[in-house]
């Protein structure tokens, strides 16, 4: 039970953080053309976005929860389970970021999720 809760925290906090970062970046006008000066200006804007810092804080929460979890739980169970982030990410992209997730993309996400779970089993 404690394990499930911790895995859920790791997956949800990490994914929520990435979604928040993505939400912040969608609000910045695109970088065109990609030159050193446009990139620097872009990054300057990016680091002034509130959502970026919310995202970084959530990602850090997910990361430190993972470290805490790894200190007592089995790596071969925990790391494959974090592959669920791909499903959580696609769901968040569809329902929170309102992205168009085409059926082909869903199929790809499920394969990647399974693949990451298998590759990280020890």
């Amino acid at each position: 039970m404690r394990l499930t809760v911790f895995i859920a925290i790791v997956v949800l906090a990490g994914t929520a953080g990435e979604l928040a970062v993505s939400h912040a970046m969608k609000q910045i006008a695109d970088v065109h053309p990609l030159t050193p000066s446009t990139i620097v200006r872009f990054l300057g804007r990016a680091f002034r976005m509130g959502w970026l810092w919310i995202g970084i804080a959530l990602m850090a929460t997910g990361f430190f929860s993972l470290l805490a979890l790894l200190s007592w739980a089995d790596v071969s169970l925990v790391v494959p389970a974090t592959a669920l982030s791909y499903v959580a990410g696609a769901l968040g992209a569809k329902f929170l970021l309102k992205e168009d997730v085409a059926p082909m993309r869903w199929a790809g996400v499920l394969l990647v999720c399974l693949g990451v779970a298998l590759i990280s089993m020890s």
Partner: protein, 171 residues
């Protein structure tokens, strides 16, 4: 920007993310091993470990690599969908396994090979979709200008409404 240039930039940034993300992790891991295991948690010992970590060249190269990774990630997310970037960058897992096999002679179990194949197939499927079907980054942002923060959600909603028709235009 032409469609071709757009795809080229997307692939270049994905490649930078995968390369510098993996390199950064390897360098940090090497640096931490060089500085030695932290066994003594007394304040003075921790201070010593802190100094050793932050005077280590590998650690700084690792941090620099991860900064390049994060900058590429942010740039890419400004025009590509999160549901495209997240699965597409998983190709890094497969690459690291395959590189470990060919360059370091590491053993890869059948389970892990199956994982590598599934990731490659999944990334191919995701890569076959338009990175930005709703075109928010590349097209709509010009019309939207670059508004400040807050109260933007409502505006984004209206911007995304035409999205189901958008992909066809991009062929």
């Amino acid at each position: 920007m032409s469609l071709k240039g757009f795809h080229t930039e997307t692939y270049i940034l994905l490649a930078l993310m995968v390369f510098f993300g993996s390199l950064g992790n390897v360098l940090l891991s090497r640096g931490m091993k060089q500085t030695g295991e932290i066994i003594d948690f007394s304040p003075s010992a921790l201070a010593g470990a802190f100094v050793r970590v932050f005077t280590n060249g590998s650690i700084w190269l690792g941090i620099a690599s991860l900064l390049v990774f994060f900058a590429s990630y942010l740039l890419l997310l400004s025009w590509a969908d999160f549901s495209y970037v997240q699965p597409a960058s998983a190709i890094g897992y497969a690459l690291v396994a395959v590189l470990g096999y060919f360059m370091l002679g590491e053993f890869i179990s059948p389970t892990r090979w199956t994982g590598v194949l599934l990731i490659c197939a999944g990334v191919l499927l995701v890569g076959g979709t338009d990175p930005s079907p709703s075109g928010r980054g590349r097209r709509d942002s010009q019309q939207a200008g670059a508004p400040g923060e807050g109260r933007r959600d409502a505006k984004l909603e209206t911007l995304t409404l035409p999205s189901p028709r958008a992909p066809r235009g991009r062929g």
